[in-house]
Symmetry: C2
Subunit: 387 residues, 2 copies
């Protein structure tokens, strides 16, 4: 909420004036709800990030956000803070309130019971359990509902949650760390660490947001990553290694450090069978997947399996071959490129052959944003479909 | 000057308060001088961009900037605006005032005659005609001189001018327009236009700032560029085509549109001689250069020739082979990469083989900045020397 922040950043008379101006604006309250929601980043899966603000007589009387799955929803939390002051008030919430009983009761009932008279919602919840039913329930109870304020921002905030329910398959984020000239490693295979410490922290945040991280066997061999979340608070995701051979190096860090069975070997049917037969490892999960042409596993089948397993958001961390396969299959929903200010010349490419020969066939992106991460630049974009 | 702008952007009481606060600060006045200097971008070569502010009793009484070579220097212009109010005043100027008579008289004399009592200078002028003599002349006249406020910003503003005088050779800017995955063209050779209209305008600004634009013969064949300045105000630079064979396609746009003899064919000694003998073209300039190993011309010799010709700043616009040669030779002083939010996969690389195998050998950059240009992202950085 840059506008609100700008107001609050000034001196005293300005502060009051700015505060009153902001108080009059639905957009500013919704920005506040979005900022509250953001606090749950990396901790709410499989739930979305939600923030709620209760406003009465132009004053904020309650605010709340969803801290983690299993805890209070944002709406309930904000109503509790408002205590008796929610009667006749307006609630701002970035996602349609739920109308079903999950680990907590339906928010629509809590809103109705609190006597709130108007609810401003940024985006509909595409989850089939809600999907308009929340708005209908509120309206049926005589509450005025306004939908669509800062809708785009709300959809981008919960991109993976929205994508999962709309595409009915796990949401795939492809993350690449590369040089200015588009290499993820030198020709000798050195890639650790092209990007900065700040970008590593950002990567750990992306991991905390994902249900699983996917890498190819080559990346395990070259970098021996643990793929855990260490530099930020959040749960470590499942680790999926894509390999046609199922031959993980026995000294791989993610095998040694796997007491919670969070490493999945995604391999072809025959490899998995022979592997499990010959040398089963009790702390590994094997997925038998269809083989695609070219020897790699069928990525569509991988996503189906991940979905069945309850994984809604996947982070592809490399290497180049896996990244290229996901791009070629049209299965990337979000692209994150961390570019370090270095040049290596000929090296290992971030992206390989996509059979694109004309610029008109190039993969294009929308809702792009770019920001600094220490010395690096981060690009985030969403592939346009049907390009 | 984000600080000053922020002050001025607020409401009326804030404006006054902010203005007075700014008025008390040397840094803010120097920022203003830098912003004034910036107005001359693309029009002052071979002179630097200079802005000057005269402040008396905390109030700005005169401001000026250097509009173009041959016109008034910034200092003189600011003193004229101040009229009688410069006696006892302070002058802020981003570059050391000159003390020699060129197309205009020495600024140090004008400052002394105007009765200015204090001069705040951001950076010394490395031009051997000045290089500390300006500061000494002012001090000798009893004027208090302070040096070094916003020095870094002032040096970056006039990077090419500073670089030319410090390296004693033309300043080389390498500009690449590439995809997210580091390609300047598809495999079929299509590169026009990877980047956006806004970035094309930015490229024309870079051209206006340069004394000459350099391309390889391959780029002439593939893109048939005119390499003129059209989208911004400014002079079109000389166009240098680097070619071992001197065989420019007769239909090349830059041959047809060359009444002012601004196209230079930089080729090897034997090629130039035979070319001029067999089919001289009166509107072309031929440079006979040493041959480097690998068939290309010797780029060091090219820079010497350009220096002799009076070209102080060169813009290398491609293609990849020429870009790689300049990087490999360590002759790039500034790198500009325009990245369009598209991916093409395998294609023509922006940068080729640099014989770098370890990340510790990678080319690194300092004073980097990144900004948006329409949908594209522009990276600007300065190679660290001796890496």
């Amino acid at each position: 909420m840059p506008r609100l922040r700008w107001h609050l950043g000034c001196d005293a008379p300005k502060y009051l004036w700015g505060f009153l101006m902001a108080a009059s604006s639905d957009i500013d309250f919704m920005r506040l709800a979005l900022n509250l929601a953001e606090k749950g980043r990396g901790k709410t899966s499989p739930n979305p990030m939600v923030g709620a603000v209760v406003v009465s007589g132009g004053k904020i009387v309650g605010r709340g956000y969803h801290r983690a799955a299993g805890t209070d929803h944002a709406e309930l939390s904000a109503i509790r803070k408002a205590a008796g002051r929610s009667r006749g008030a307006t609630m701002y919430v970035n996602l349609e309130p739920c109308c079903h009983t999950g680990r907590t009761g339906p928010c629509t009932e809590a809103i109705t019971d609190a006597g709130i008279s108007r609810v401003v919602v940024a985006a509909k919840d595409p989850n089939p359990l809600v999907n308009g039913k929340g708005v209908r329930a509120l309206r049926k109870a005589g509450i005025r509902v306004e939908l669509g304020i800062l809708r785009k921002e709300a959809r981008l905030l919960n991109d993976a949650y929205m994508g999962y329910h709309e595409n009915k398959r796990p949401f795939v984020t492809l993350k690449l760390a590369q040089t200015l000239d588009g290499r993820i490693a030198t020709l000798s295979g050195e890639s650790k660490y092209i990007s900065s410490a700040q970008s590593l922290t950002y990567t750990h945040l992306l991991r905390a947001e994902a249900d699983a991280v996917i890498v190819g066997l080559g990346t395990v061999r070259a970098d021996n990553p643990t793929l855990t979340v260490r530099r930020v608070r959040g749960n470590s995701p499942y680790r999926i290694v894509v390999t046609a051979s199922a031959n993980l190096p026995p000294q791989a860090a993610m095998l040694k450090n796997n007491p919670d069975q969070r490493t999945i070997i995604a391999t072809t049917e025959s490899s998995a069978a022979s592997r499990i037969k010959s040398r089963p490892r009790r702390n590994l999960i094997y997925w038998s997947l269809k083989k695609a042409s070219g020897g790699l596993i069928d990525l569509g089948d991988l996503l189906d399996k991940a979905d069945d397993f309850g994984l809604h958001s996947l982070l592809v961390e490399g290497g180049g071959r896996l990244a290229t396969s996901f791009l070629k299959a049209g299965l990337v929903d979000k692209l994150v490129i961390v570019t370090a200010p270095v040049i290596v010349g000929r090296g290992i490419d971030a992206v390989g052959e996509l059979n694109i020969r004309r610029l008109s066939q190039a993969l294009t992106f929308q809702n792009c944003r770019t920001f600094a991460s220490g010395p690096d630049t981060v690009f985030v974009g969403y592939p346009r479909k049907g390009a």
